[in-house]
């Protein structure tokens, strides 16, 4: 089993179609590909931007650790994780996870695992900038994210 992984921490946006193609093109062993795209959300039109701060160096290393755990746990044929930093407008893409496997359960579970762990372990922090010009707050971590990550410990 090829344990292929691409990890990128970058300011520029990403192209899902291109990332999927470089993962699966020319292969006949991949039966299932799951992608997760996280977007900058603004339900109440109160947000002008999100500022994503990260810990350079550690972000890559921590995501690599999480990817290794996923590869040890599921028979993955390919993994891609891209996480952006900097300023994002509502509707902009923030994070991309792609998992490829022979079967769908491994692809689904590993993508969910990766997102749960990225949320709670990858050193990124979001700050809101409000559309009324005031500086917003740092986004608070959510208990339900910790719970989501914790459920993988029990299985």
């Amino acid at each position: 089993m090829t344990q292929q992984a691409k990890i990128s921490i970058q300011q520029e946006t990403f192209d899902l179609a291109q990332e999927m193609q470089s993962l699966a093109q020319g292969r006949a062993d991949v039966g299932a590909i799951v992608t997760f795209t996280g977007l900058c959300r603004d339900e109440n039109a109160a947000l002008s931007a999100l500022e994503l701060e990260h810990y350079p160096g550690m972000a890559e290393e921590e995501i690599a650790r999480v990817v290794s755990q996923a590869q040890a746990r599921w028979p993955l044929l390919g993994v891609t994780v891209i996480h952006r930093y900097g300023r994002m407008a509502p509707g902009d893409q923030i994070v991309l996870v792609i998992t490829a496997s022979s079967h769908r359960l491994a692809a689904f579970e590993s993508a969910e695992f990766l997102m749960d762990y990225l949320k709670t372990r990858a050193p990124f922090w979001k700050k809101e900038h409000r559309s009324d010009g005031t500086s917003g707050d740092w986004v608070s971590a959510k208990d339900h994210d910790d719970h989501a990550a914790a459920r993988w410990e029990q299985i």
């Binding site: 990858a122 990124f124 979001k126 608070s140």
Partner: protein, 83 residues
């Protein structure tokens, strides 16, 4: 050792990094947070709730009872909100 700060910990302290030289009795992460808190109002504010502060030593998450004597870079930050 080098101390680095992120997000509102950085904003409250007013700097992103600095060299620190804690005395020998500062053995673990919890000790270091107490010692830093006494460096001034801005530190006291950043570390007012030590239990919410996350720490990484040399880019690896650690708990508050982890010894610091081999650390080269120690980072302090709020719970992560990426993804």
């Amino acid at each position: 050792m080098k101390a680095v700060y992120f997000a509102w910990v950085r904003e409250r302290i007013g700097r992103a990094e600095e060299e620190i030289t804690p005395p020998a009795h500062v053995a673990n992460v919890a000790d270091l947070i107490s010692w830093l808190s006494e460096k001034g109002e801005e530190y006291a504010y950043a570390f007012e709730k030590p239990q919410v502060i996350r720490v990484a030593i040399d880019r690896t998450h650690v708990k508050h009872d982890t010894p610091i004597h081999q650390a080269r870079e120690i980072a302090f930050f709020p719970p992560m909100t990426g993804g």
